[in-house]
Every structure is written in C-alpha cells, then in structure tokens.
C-alpha cells in the first residue's frame, strides 16, 4: 500500500477554498511516477536483455563476423563457431511443427466458434488451456520415454516404403536407431504450439461480423461455404499473425526439444536424424563452456531474441490490424 497522509481523511474541499496547497499532492504525484516507472519496466528489461547478452556474446560475433551465421563449422577445440547447422535445425523443427499445428489449430478454432454448442465450447476452451498449461519439460519426458520408443518402427517403415522415391528418400531417412530426431521434436513442438495458435485464431474468428455470416447463410450457403466466403476473407491477416506467433514459440522452445532431438551438430535435411536447434545446443553445451565458447552460445541466444522480437512485431501488428478493423466497424 502507498502511504497516505492523514490529512486526506479530512474534507479536502475546505483546504481548497483556503487557498493552501491541497493535501496529498506529493503522494499523488509520487504514485503516478512509480506507476509510470513500472509501466516502462518492460522496455527497460527488453533493453537490458539486448545489451547484456550482446555484450557477453560480442567476442564471438567480432571474431566470426558473418561466418557466425553462414558457416557450419562448430569446432570447439579449434575455437571456430559457425552456427548454420543449428539455425537450420531450428527452421526444420519449426517447419515440421507448423505443418502439423496450423491445420489442426484452424480446424479447432472453427470447431469452437462455428460448430460447438455453448456448453461444449467452454469445456473445449478449458481443455485447450490445460494443453497450454502442461510444462514443456513434461512434454519432453513423455516424448522421450513414451513417444520416441514407439515411433521408431513407424519411421523405419516410412523410410523403407519411400526408399526409391527421389527427394522423399533423403527426407524420410536418417538413422532411426532411437526415436529421438528432428521429426519427433517437431511433432511434440507442434502439439505444444497448437493452443496458442488456436486461441489467437479463435479471437480473430470472433471478430467476423455476425451480419456477414448470417447474410451468407441466408443466401443459401452451406456452413463450409459460409466459412470460406465470410470467415476466411475477413481473418486472413489475423491467421497469418497467429501462425507467426506460433512460429516464434516453436523457434524458442527449448527443454522439450533438448530431450527429443538427440544432439548432433551436423547440418542435414534427414528428418529422422538426430540434430540440434539453436535453443537446444545452448542447453546441451553451456555447462562445459568458457570464454569464447560461452560467448558463442550466448550469441545464439542473442540471435534467437532478435528473431523472436522481429517475428513478434510483425505478427502482433497483423493481429492488431484485424482487431482494430473489427472495433472500428
């Protein structure tokens, strides 16, 4: 509680007419400044994150230059730190996650907004909230000890089925010895980002004017035609925003990926191979790292921070535009 001067309890009107300085003014201004400082804490902390991590990572950035992002040579004894393999791994895992999460999330959001009756709707929203509340490390534990051992057989079958199809035979290969791979990590991350994409898409769908939906139905459209004709055109920007926010989450997802991706510093497009993402390599190698090595790992964090900020700005901008249009209409 903010300290209040006792004079506040007496009638202030009397003081005002006296021509004295009104009481409680210091407290009032002080509270305002305090609140302002708290409001700016977000910007201050984001600035401190950028400064402190970049400062620690600087030796690695200045030594490697652009090679930090373009070289695949990650050789600790020779002190060479090129992160391309991990950037590729992050993109691969995020792409797999999005391929599975986006259609399911849009479908689920449509189910909630257009099909489910009121009571069921609230129940589903709770289920989606719980899915979002399950900690990352629990997804990792389940993925590592339950999903991975069960999914190897499936990987092996796919690999042999497509062994003679060009492109697919490289893509669907690797060394599926244990189930940990890009694919397993991507699948579980896809499940993890489904709630966030669903809830943002749902909010966007809700902003579609009821009059437009009713008009479509009145003209004889089936439900699917109504969705295609009234819901989708209105929400396109918002859906792209939701997908980008999901992408940001997928790229930054750490602990589940560490447990599910195996740890291999090789750049590969083989989905069933073990690999490493930017976030997972930081966790896997941080314990032993010193000096330049540590600077390089923190540098990966800086890159991750920058990417998620950029994606976030674009995505929130898109979603805000859809919601502003709905508010203005």
């Amino acid at each position: 509680m903010v300290a209040e001067s006792p004079s506040q309890d007496s009638a202030p009107v009397a003081h005002l007419t006296d021509g004295h300085r009104p009481p409680g003014r210091v407290v009032d201004v002080g509270f305002r400044l305090l609140a302002m400082l708290a409001g700016f804490s977000v910007l201050i902390i984001l600035g401190l994150i950028a400064f402190s991590t970049t400062h620690t990572a600087w030796p690695a950035f200045s030594k490697e230059g652009i090679h930090f992002f373009t070289s695949t040579t990650w050789d600790v004894p020779k002190q060479r730190f090129g992160a391309l393999a991990f950037i590729g791994g992050t993109l691969l895992v995020s792409a797999i996650a999005l391929v599975f999460a986006v259609p399911v999330s849009i479908g689920l959001a449509l189910f909630i907004t257009e099909i489910a009756p009121g009571k069921l709707r609230r129940w589903i929203v709770t289920v989606v909230d719980l899915l979002a509340a399950v900690p990352s490390v629990v997804y990792g534990l389940w993925g590592l000890l339950v999903v991975a051992p069960k999914i190897i057989g499936f990987y092996k079958d796919l690999a042999s089925d497509f062994a003679h199809v060009p492109i697919l035979n490289t893509l669907l290969s690797g060394r599926p010895l244990s189930g940990v791979s890009f694919m397993t990590a991507g699948l579980v991350v896809g499940l993890m980002i489904t709630p966030i994409i669903t809830s943002i898409t749902r909010e966007v769908f809700v902003t579609v004017p009821t009059a437009q939906k009713e008009a479509a139905v009145a003209l004889g459209a089936t439900r699917w035609e109504m969705i295609r004709g009234a819901v989708f055109p209105h929400s396109r920007g918002g859906i792209v925003g939701a997908v980008l926010i999901g992408l940001g989450r997928a790229m930054g997802e750490t602990i589940a990926v560490v447990l599910l991706i195996g740890s291999s510093t090789e750049l590969t497009g083989r989905l069933f191979s073990p690999g490493e993402t930017m976030a997972s390599v930081i966790v896997n190698q941080f314990g032993e790292a010193q000096d330049l090595y540590r600077a390089a790992l923190v540098g990966l964090g800086v890159a991750l921070f920058a990417i998620t900020i950029i994606i976030g700005v674009i995505a929130r901008g898109l979603v805000a535009r859809v919601e502003a249009r709905a508010g203005g209409a």
Binding site: P12, G24, A35, G39, D129, V134, V137, L191, L219
Partner: protein
C-alpha cells in the same frame, strides 16, 4: 463484399447433383474440423494418462518431503525440488506481481490511449513471446557473471522477467473493464487519482487481477530453461534464497528423464505428476477467479 458473392453460388443452385456435391463438401469440411478437435484431445489424454499411470505409484507424502537419493537408488524423495519450486516461484511472484500490477495501473489509468501507452502495451505483448531460455541467459550474463553466485534468487529473477508482461497485460485489461462511473464518483467526492485507484479501481478489479497473477504463476512454476543456467544442483533442501545452490521440480524432471536408470525415471514421472498437479490447480483457480469477476462485472 465481393468475397461473399464469390463464395455463395446462387447461380449454381439448381441441378440436384450440384446440391449433392455441395453437401458432400460441407460434410467433409465439418468432419475435418471435428477431427482436428480429436487430434488435439487424444495426445492430451495420453499425456495426462501416462503421467498419472507412471507417476502415482511413487507419489506419497515421503516423496514430497524426503531428500533426493542417488540416481540408481529406487524409492521416493523429491523434497528439495518441491521446496525449491515453491521458494523460487514465490520469490518471483513477490517481485513480478506488485511491479506488474503497478505497470498495468499506469497503462489503464494514466496512459490510456496515448501513444506511449500503446507502445508499452505492444512491447508487453512482444515480451510474452520472448523465449524463456533468453531470460535465463539474460540473468546469467547480467547477474550471475557479476556476483559469481548460483542461487535461488537468480532463478526467481529469471522467472519474474517471464511473469511481468503477463501480469501487466491482464491487469491493464481487467482495469479497463471497471466502469468509468466508479472513478468519476470517487473523484466527485474529492479523492485524488492515487486514492481512487487504490481504494476504488483496484478492489473492483481484484478477482481479475488475481486470476492474471495465478496464470503467470502457473506458467513460471513449470519453466525449466531459465533455471538450468542459474542454479547449481543440490540434493538436500536449501531454505536460503541467496546462499548456496537450489533445485526445482522442473529441473529434476529434466535431469531424471535423460537418466538411464529406472529409479531416476520413476522419480521423474512422479515429479511430473506433482508439477502438473501444481500447475493445473493454479490454472483452474485462475478460471474460477475469472468467472467471479465476469459475473460481478456483468451484474453491475
């Protein structure tokens, strides 16, 4: 709206075959939409089912209180991690909630629709998307490298950074639902703005703010990535926030999951059950407070 006329085939109404193909397409789309719900429901059910099935055998009072045994020793013991999770999350809450509520007050009561407030609101949203591992690296580089101390407080700082934007945003949203008449009434009676906020606006929005804080706690309690850099492991309960290493349920699950020993994996499942229990309780409590708040604000 050209899009609608394109989607509604008025001219195509007519031949029965066309009718049927539209009905089939509609049925197929509806089936896909329902299917996507099932695709989400099944893994969640499996996940919770496995955690309960494998975790409940070891789960007991002894599990929650005893020290952590060595990797190969079977039996209960996760007390230091339970205490660590409560200590670190509690300290993070004590830092993030007051600061976040004040920040939300600034956005809703002072900043309102000004450019500054809109920019701050935007960046609070962006900050919720910053990966938690970055918060861990931030506290490591800004605090741990300077103090050379791996302790629970560093972990609490990292979690507080994660919670802050969530608390700011929910407070801002909840305060904006408080009717303007309440503020005007208070001002008309001679209260200054600070007094109006403390005595009238914040109490009116209290259930909503509590709900937001609980959601932030639930998010923070399950986090692992920010903690692993800033905690040095312990296997006995350390009650100190500032002296010595510490551990948490999430960190123990992470370490035990990749252990080759069945005894450790068993403890990982039971710890996961404990953690999911804590997180679900906070999430459900948050929903209850939201329900109280929305009932109260629609009634008034």
């Amino acid at each position: 709206m050209t899009a609608i006329t394109a989607g509604v085939p008025v001219t195509r109404l007519g031949p029965a075959a066309k009718h049927r193909s539209r009905a089939i397409r509609n049925g197929f789309a509806t089936a896909c939409i329902v299917l996507s719900f099932i695709i989400v429901l099944v893994p969640l059910a499996l996940l919770v089912g496995y955690v309960v099935a494998r975790g409940h055998q070891l789960f007991s009072y002894a599990f929650l209180t005893k020290d952590i045994p060595t990797q190969i020793t079977p039996g209960p013991g996760m007390g230091p991690a339970v205490f660590g999770t409560l200590l670190i999350t509690g300290a993070a809450t004590a830092m993030a909630v007051p600061l976040g509520v004040l920040g939300g007050v600034y956005l809703s009561e002072y900043g309102r629709r000004s450019v500054i407030a809109r920019v701050l609101r935007f960046f609070a949203e962006i900050m919720t998307g910053v990966p938690s591992i970055v918060m861990g690296l931030f506290i490591y580089t800004a605090v741990v490298l300077k103090t050379k101390n791996l302790n629970a407080f560093a972990g609490a700082l990292a979690l507080a950074c994660l919670m802050l934007p969530i608390v700011i945003r929910t407070t801002d949203e909840m305060l904006r639902l408080v009717p303007a008449e309440l503020r005007e009434g208070s001002t008309a009676l001679g209260s200054r703005q600070a007094r109006t906020i403390m005595r009238i606006v914040l109490p009116a929005a209290a259930p909503g703010i509590v709900s937001g804080a609980l959601l932030a706690v639930a998010r923070a309690a399950g986090e692992t990535a920010p903690l692993i850099f800033v905690l040095s492991p312990v296997y006995r309960t350390n009650r100190s926030l500032f002296h010595g290493g510490n551990t948490a349920l999430s960190v123990q699950i992470f370490q035990n999951a990749s252990s080759p020993y069945a005894a450790s994996q068993q403890r990982a499942w039971a710890a996961a059950l404990t953690l999911i229990g804590i997180v679900f309780v906070f999430t459900v409590l948050a929903r209850i407070f939201t329900a109280i708040y929305s009932r109260r604000s629609t009634a008034s």
